[in-house]
Every structure is written in C-alpha cells, then in structure tokens.
C-alpha cells in the first residue's frame, strides 16, 4: 500500500497557511473579491452534479474505444445517436443519449502517480501558489453558495461512511466542506423525537444562539462560526427529511436507475438536485482495474450506463437540463497497454470526460486520440480547461472571479488555461 497521497501534503499546507494567516485553521479564510458578483450569485439557480468514478474508468471501454487495435481489448464499438460517433458496446443506453452529451476525448493531465491524481483533478490543478485549493464541490459552495433552498451547498453521496468532510474545502475553511451521506443514508438523529415540541426546540436553539453570541464576543470568531454552522445545516436538513424516505420512491424509478449502489445513489442525487442542493457529487469506487480490467468493466459499465442514462432522461423530462450541469469523470483514464494481469494501469496522457446539461453544447465530441489510443492527436485539454468551461457553463466568469485568501487574490481556475468554447452553447 502506498502512502503518497497529495491531500496529505495539502492538509499540511493548509494548516501552515492557517497559522500564517492569523490562525483561521478552522473556517472561513476565503472570500470573493467582488461583493457585487457574490450578490449576483445568490440569484443564480444553476446546479452541478458530478459523477466520480474513483480509480479511473477506462476510456477504451467507454467513450473512446479502439476495437481491432493491439490495445483495443475484447469489446466492440457501437454506433451512437450521433452519426459517425462510436462508443464501447458496454454503454448501449448512453450511446442513444449522445445527442444530449458532450464528450472530450483529448484530456491530457499530469498526474499518474498513485492516487494523488484524485485531489489534483478535483481541485482543477491550478498553478501551485503554496495554497491548497478546494475540491470542485467546495469551490462551487463558496462561489455560488446555497441555492434559495438553504440546503447545504455541497453534498457527497458515497458508499461507506458519511460525515462532514472538511478537508475538501482547502484554504476556504472547513465550512465549505462536503456533507457526505454514507450509502445515501441520512445522518443519524435527523428526526426530532416527539418528546420535544417544535416550540420547545425553537426556544432552546434561541438560547444556544444567545449564549454563543456572548461567548464569541472578543474571541477568535472561527470556532464559534464553525460550531454554529453545523447546527444551521442540521436544522435545514431536518426540513428535508422526506428526501431520505426510500418508501417515497416509485418502483419505476428504482428499476430505471438500478438497485445497485450507483443506481440508488444517482437517484438520490436527482432528488437532492430537485430539492435545491447546489452541488451533488456521486462517487463510485473500485475503478482502479490494474487486474482483470475487462471483466471489471463488463460488470461495472452497465451500472453506469443504466443510472446515468436514467439521470439524463429525468433531467430532460423535467426541464432541469437548462439548469443542471452534469459531469462524469475520474482522476485519469487507463493505459492502452494491457498489463500482465490483464489489467490497465493509470493513464493521464489521453483520456475522456463527459458532460451534459446547463450551458453545454449537446451532441459534441471534442478531440481525438491516436489510432492506438496512446496519446492525444488534437489540442490536448487539461483539467484547468474543464474548470473554466464548467464555471462558464453555470454562469461564473472564471477569467474574472477570484478568491481572496487573506489578502492574497487567487484565480478560481488555472490562470494559463481557458474555457473550451466548442463545449459551450
């Protein structure tokens, strides 16, 4: 097992930074440079749904198949709704959605080392300024804030345990971390017991706030802010308890999305988006197919195909496609070369990312790889280009907007990169 995980460097840097900047190691260092822009954002109703295939989905078994080549593997390619465009036979349903999707086949990123690619990609890998950047969800939570729903702006649906994952927020401060719903389950104790009336609850919470205000007087503010924030979030979540009531789901939806983890989590993600969560991330683990790549993809891809198709259909049926940006990606693709364990290793040199919805030009395929898939043939795009593109798609001007880290202005996406116009409406 390897321990070279760059979030740990990042974590360390954040703590050092907090110390240098006057001790806001807890929360709330970041600000946005232009307050006018911030106000405008409060009225922005755009949302983002990120499907993250942790470990690295193979581009060759999905968006960029190379059948009948030395590295192509056993699967065929199939035509899609877009004339001339083929995808892997492992995604028949998504192939029929291609007119709604945009795919970049010319992703070329830097980090193939172990899993350090995960934080790099999720942070948009901006230029190194000694600052730990937020993950995309935390960035959007900061830049756009909660929607009018007041729901926590960054919710992460994942297998395993839940909790509040502060470290995603980087220098922005813990407050912008992810509320993680382990296995899509609501946090424990979400429902107020009958023994406390809502009036009694309101009374005790008001007392708590009064005592906190007094305590915070002439003390470093961030501790009380962080503690008060979790109570606010708890209160908001309680108002949406029905989101977690699986009995309210239709049998048809369950069938369409699938009863596997990814299906259930994607369906919850749709409901969270409908309820007004600004940024939802759904994670599927276990894509690091160093061994037995083809059987793994044969069992995994149909789940992606099923649940993501259901999601795209629903967004379009409900008119949410104009408001919700959907992105599906991983930290890198997989090597064209097939290794001795019939696996594919990490390959950041040429891989694919897919997106749809808000601001995205539907039915677009950008870029091309070499015939054997080993490298990008057209203009390569880095994750920084994608961050500019996605920010633009939801109405953020990433060339203008900046974070404030204390007195240090910081670009929200890599300052040497730009949005990809072909992908945008």
């Amino acid at each position: 097992m390897n321990h070279c995980r760059s979030w740990e460097h990042g974590w360390s840097r954040r703590r050092m930074l907090g110390a240098m900047a006057g001790g806001a190691g807890v929360a709330g260092l970041g600000g946005i440079l232009q307050p006018a822009a911030a106000e405008e954002m409060a009225r922005n109703d755009k949302q983002i749904l990120l499907i993250w295939l942790d470990g690295g989905m193979s581009q060759l078994e999905s968006w960029d198949p190379k059948p009948n080549t030395p590295f192509g593997g056993p699967f065929r390619s199939i035509p899609t709704a877009l004339p001339g465009i083929h995808v892997s036979e492992l995604m028949p349903k998504l192939s029929r959605q291609m007119k709604r999707l945009a795919v970049v086949r010319s992703m070329k990123t830097e980090d193939a080392n172990h899993s350090s690619g995960v934080p790099k990609i999720l942070r948009g890998q901006p230029r190194n300024r000694g600052v730990t950047y937020p993950y995309l969800g935390s960035a959007v939570a900061k830049l756009m804030g909660p929607t009018e729903s007041g729901l926590p702006p960054y919710v992460w649906v994942k297998p395993g345990n839940g909790g509040f994952i502060a470290k995603h927020a980087g220098f922005l401060g813990a407050k912008y971390g992810a509320l993680a719903l382990g296995d899509g389950k609501p946090p424990a104790n979400l429902v107020r017991p009958d023994s406390i009336s809502s009036a009694a609850d309101a009374a005790r919470q008001e007392l708590r706030r009064k005592f906190n205000r007094q305590f915070a007087d002439r003390r470093r503010a961030n501790f009380n802010e962080a503690n008060s924030y979790v109570y606010d979030v708890a209160g908001t979540l309680m108002k949406h308890v029905e989101l977690f009531d699986e009995a309210k789901l239709s049998e048809k939806d369950r069938r369409r999305y699938g009863t596997h983890d990814l299906g259930r989590h994607a369906l919850l993600a749709r409901r969270l988006i409908e309820a007004g969560v600004r940024f939802v991330q759904v994670t599927s683990y276990g894509w690091d197919t160093h061994g037995d790549n083809f059987n793994s993809h044969a069992s995994r891809m149909p789940k992606v195909d099923q649940s993501v198709t259901a999601l795209i259909e629903d967004l379009y049926d409900r008119g949410l496609d104009e408001r919700v940006l959907v992105v599906m990606m991983a930290e890198f693709g997989r090597t064209p070369r097939i290794n001795g364990s019939v696996g594919r290793d990490h390959w950041p040199n040429a891989w694919s990312v897919a997106m749809a919805g808000c601001g995205i030009r539907p039915g677009t395929v950008v870029g091309e790889t070499l015939p054997d898939g080993t490298d990008v043939k057209t203009t390569p795009y880095d994750i920084g280009h994608m961050f500019h593109t996605w920010f633009s798609a939801v109405g953020l001007d990433s060339a203008e907007a900046e974070y404030m880290n204390g007195t240090q202005p910081l670009p929200i996406a890599h300052d040497d990169m730009h949005k990809v116009d072909e992908l945008l409406i």
Binding site: G22, L190, P193
Partner: protein, 554 residues
C-alpha cells in the same frame, strides 16, 4: 542553538540530525538557572514583541482549562466553589500539583495518549492497562516508547504496549493488504515527528530532508516482524541477515540500506552462524518466542527512544506543548524538517533539553507548561487590536475537546454522576463502569465526537452528526430532564433566579453568570411555574451543553 534554515536546508536528514545532536546532547542541558516555566515566558514574550498580550485568565477560566487538560473533565460545582473561594497567592500552582497527583490524571493521560498514538484504530484491554500503568507510575516517556517499539511479552504490565504495532498490522478487508508501510510511517510520525510516508517509492518530492533510504531502512524492521496473535498483543521477529534492497521509481537504480533509525542513522546488521542467532532459543511447545541476539526492534527502540536522539525528545515536547497551548511549535506536528522550522527555535531546544535532563518526566513537563503565563492567559482578545497569529501565544488558543473530555464533562455538568453515584467516593470512571446506561452513553459519545480512524485529532472540527446527536438523542435529552439528584432537579428547587443562574452556569460552563446571562434566565423563567418552569430550566441546561463555550477548552 538557532535552527539555521539556510545552512541546513539542503542537508539530508541524518546530517541535519547530527548537527542537532551535537548541540542538543550536552550543551543545551544547561544548569537550570530559572525554572522552565519562567524561561518559557521570557522566550515567548520576547518573541511576541509589541503584540498586545491578553489579560491573565480569571480563576474560573484557568480552573476549567487546567482541569480539562490535566484531569480530562470540567470541575464539579464543589471543586469550583472551593477554588474560587481560596485566597492563597499560590493557589494556581497548588492546584496544578494536586491535579498532577490526583485520581483523574492517569485516566486523562491514558485517554490523551490513546488518541494521540492510536488515532482511533481501536481499543484493547491490554493496551489500556499498559497506558494506565505507565501513567500511574509516571514512567519516563523513553521507557514508554521503548515498550511500544520493542515489546516484552514477559512483562505483564507492559506487554499490552505491543498493540501500538499489532493494531496497525490487521487486515482491513479482503481487498486491503496488511498495511506495513503505514506502520513505518506512523512510527516516524508519532515517535520522531517525521512523516516519511511520501518517501516510500522515491525521495520526498517536496521535502528535501526526507529520503527514500530513511523510509526503507526503517521499513525493513517492520517487514521482518509479525503479529503473533493470542490473548494479548505480541509480535515476533525473524532473523535478519541482509540489508534491504530497493529502487527509486524515478531513477530505478538498485540500492541497499542497513537498518536506519529516524534521528540516529544507520545500524549495521549483525549476523550469527546458523543455530546461534538466539540468546534464548524459541520454544514452540512452551509458546516462547525466544530472544534474538540481533533484534531490529530492540535496535530501533534503543536508537530512537533515547536522549541522544534529538528528534525523539523534540517530537514529544512539541506534542505536549500542542496539547497545552493549542498549537505546535512545529506544525504540522509530524513534519519536522529544516524548511519547516519551529516558530520559537530556542524554546523548542530548551524544552527538549530540559525534558531529557529531567528523565523524560511527562508529569514534570506538563506542570511547568501549566505554570506559565503563556498557558494562563485569557482566550479573550485584548481590546479591538488586530489579531495576532495563534503562534504568538499572546492570547490563549481555544482547543478542541476530545470525545472523552466531552463525555466526562457532560456527566459532571448535568449532575448525572450525582444522580447515579451512591454515597461512596468512587472515581467517575468506576461509577460509569457499573452503570449500564452510562457505559452505553460513553460509547455513543466516542462514536459521535471522534474523528474517523487514522485522522489525527488536532483541529476543531464540529460535525452535523454531533449537532444532531445533542439535539435528538434520547439519552442526551434524558440528561436535562428532571431526575432525582441531577442538575435540573436541583435548579428547579431554587426559587431565586439569581441563585439559580449562578448554580446553572457554574455547573455547566464552570463560571458565574454575566449580567446578560442572568437576564436571559430571568426572561425565560418569568411567569413560568410547575412543569413549564422545569422544562425551561432543561432548555437552559441543554443550550449551554450545546454551546460553543462548552465544547471548547478556551
């Protein structure tokens, strides 16, 4: 000695350490012309320069802080009244000494070191027993560390120390192999303050001092060892015969290294003819592991856990400083290297030197830290001055409470202990151990307020989970219901709002109420009688329990 950045930055760790050792080993252990706590204040205050200092804490603020740090809980109302009423000029020093020799101290230290060293990996009765023994006896830290690094299965009091190693050698599911590199990394982090984790496969890419050879030379010790299994944690070692071979994934050059101990350098491997490797031969039938003539673990324990190793003393004094002062002199706590110098280099040298010359006496060091003005300042900012950095120690840093501190304090605050405690003078923990509902409550507190396994508990990180637990969990709500003997019942019997406020605030937040506090209480209770009044008193108690003030050591 000043840790010169320019001259040392490009030196590998061993060289760096050699420089430190030369300075630390003897010169720094100077005859103490003044007690350490005075030296600390001089160094901290001269460094703070013109930055305004916060006022000294008042007695209530000090009492709560020092009890949380040295007893792991807030004071009872009786303890608070006694201390606040005392008039002796040296009453703070007297209190510090009585806490250090009190019943709560070994429990608090056991909990503190458990969290620090195990990072919520799990529990083991033998490990708990070892820690409790160590702090009951006030064993020197080098002795404690050697017990963990080179466990002695024949010593019933200390054998549980092996859990430090064995807990890190468990399989975590079918897909996850036993994480030996993780153990190597943790030994570096927790015992020497150096995180070699990122130097496993190549030299560290951003930290000049951390070399792959440092990792590999330490790692071979743990690759040569395994968990023995059985009723108590124990390890066995194989005979080590040859140096470790490794390659950097960058250069691919084959290299070898003998044992390599953080802060101490290479130890060559001594080999013996076949059949003569043991001074006491292993005996399978008697389940005896035997004693190796060359035991890599024993070499590690001897080379790392000693006053001659500068990293060893610096790591622990920095961690204990962090516990008391809310910030490390080196942060992150496990990233000692020449490009990350301490905020107060002379102070760190002094702490390490005196700790060694006081024979690694943790109790002595904590007593000195608690005596400082630095520790005893208020956490309230001096006026509306701009914020000084946390590392200036001009204002007391607010600190996170551990799940354990929160649990014991909640029992004290709500009078739950008074409710279940019979007329004996049992310790808190004995009362809990024989009260089923409280054992369960303790379990829930630990589950709710601890970090996930392997995440160091250093930052204040309140969670929605914690908020919802305090808001809705029935066992918590029961604590603020009127039940015979508990706080709410006692308060309900008090007709005078002023006295009621005083008792309430002293019980929960260990201080008297402010005028504004009394007004809040008076307004809430105005015109309320009977059940409505009692319910309102419960709300007050709950609101203080859930307040930021309660969940911090401020």
């Amino acid at each position: 000695m000043v840790w010169s950045r320019s001259s040392l930055m490009r030196q590998p760790l061993v060289l760096l350490v050699a420089c430190l050792a030369a300075a630390d080993g003897s010169n720094l252990v100077q005859a103490a012309e003044a007690p350490l706590h005075q030296v600390i204040d001089r160094l901290v205050e001269s460094r703070a320069g013109k930055q305004p200092l916060a006022a000294m804490s008042d007695d209530a603020e000090f009492l709560r802080r020092v009890m949380l740090d040295l007893a792991g809980r807030i004071p009872t109302v009786a303890e608070a009244r006694r201390f606040l009423g005392e008039t002796a000029a040296d009453k703070r020093f007297t209190l510090i000494d009585s806490l250090l020799s009190g019943d709560d101290y070994p429990r608090r230290m056991q909990e503190l070191f458990h969290v620090m060293l195990m990072e919520r990996r799990g529990e083991h009765a033998e490990w708990t027993k070892f820690l409790r023994y160590a702090f009951n006896q006030n064993l020197p830290w080098d002795r404690v560390a050697r017990a963990m690094l080179s466990p002695d299965a024949t010593d019933e009091n200390l054998r549980g120390a092996a859990y430090f190693l064995t807990a890190r050698l468990t399989k975590e599911g079918a897909m996850a192999p036993v994480d030996v590199p993780g153990l190597t990394r943790d030994v570096g982090r927790l015992m020497a303050g150096v995180d070699f984790g990122c130097a496993q496969c190549h030299d560290h890419v951003s930290i000049e001092d951390y070399k792959q050879v440092d990792f590999q030379g330490l790692h071979m010790i743990f690759e040569n060892m395994q968990s023995r299994g059985g009723e108590f944690p124990a390890v066995t070692e194989k005979v080590m015969t040859k140096p470790r071979e490794f390659k950097s994934v960058f250069t691919r050059d084959p290299r070898t290294t003998p044992l390599r101990i953080p802060g101490a350098g290479d130890v060559s491997i001594r080999t013996f003819p076949k059949g003569e490797e043991y001074s006491v031969a292993p005996d399978r039938k008697a389940k005896r592991t035997g004693v190796l003539k060359f035991s890599p673990l024993r070499e590690l324990a001897g080379g790392l856990a000693t006053g001659k190793n500068p990293l060893f003393a610096r790591n622990i004094v920095n961690r204990l400083w962090f516990v008391m002062m809310g910030r490390g002199l080196v942060e992150p706590l496990d990233l000692f290297h020449s490009a990350n110098p301490p905020t107060h280099p002379e102070l760190l040298d002094r702490l390490a030197g005196e700790f060694v010359s006081h024979k690694f006496d943790i109790k002595w060091l904590l007593g000195q830290l608690a005596r400082t003005r630095c520790y005893q300042r208020s956490s309230r900012l001096p006026g509306d001055q701009p914020l000084s950095p946390r590392s200036s120690y001009t204002v007391a840093n607010q600190k996170r409470l551990s799940a354990e501190q929160l649990f014991w304090s909640t029992l004290v605050a709500t009078g739950e202990i008074d409710r279940v405690k019979p007329a004996t003078d049992d310790t808190l923990e004995k009362v809990v151990a024989r009260t089923e509902s409280l054992v369960e409550l303790q379990k829930q507190f630990l589950k709710t307020f601890s970090n996930p396994p392997k995440e160091p508990e250093v930052d204040f990180a309140p969670t929605v989970k914690g908020a919802l637990y305090l808001m809705h969990d029935q066992a918590v709500l029961d604590l603020v219901k009127p039940r015979p003997g508990n706080l709410v019942t006692k308060l309900a019997a008090e007709p005078d709002t002023g006295k009621l406020s005083e008792a309430l605030f002293l019980a929960v937040v260990s201080r008297g109420p402010t005028t504004a506090d009394v007004q809040v209480v008076a307004k809430l209770l105005e015109n309320k009688t009977g059940a409505a009044r009692i319910e309102a008193i419960g709300q007050l108690a709950w609101a203080l329990l859930a307040s930021t003030e309660f969940c911090l050591n401020h």
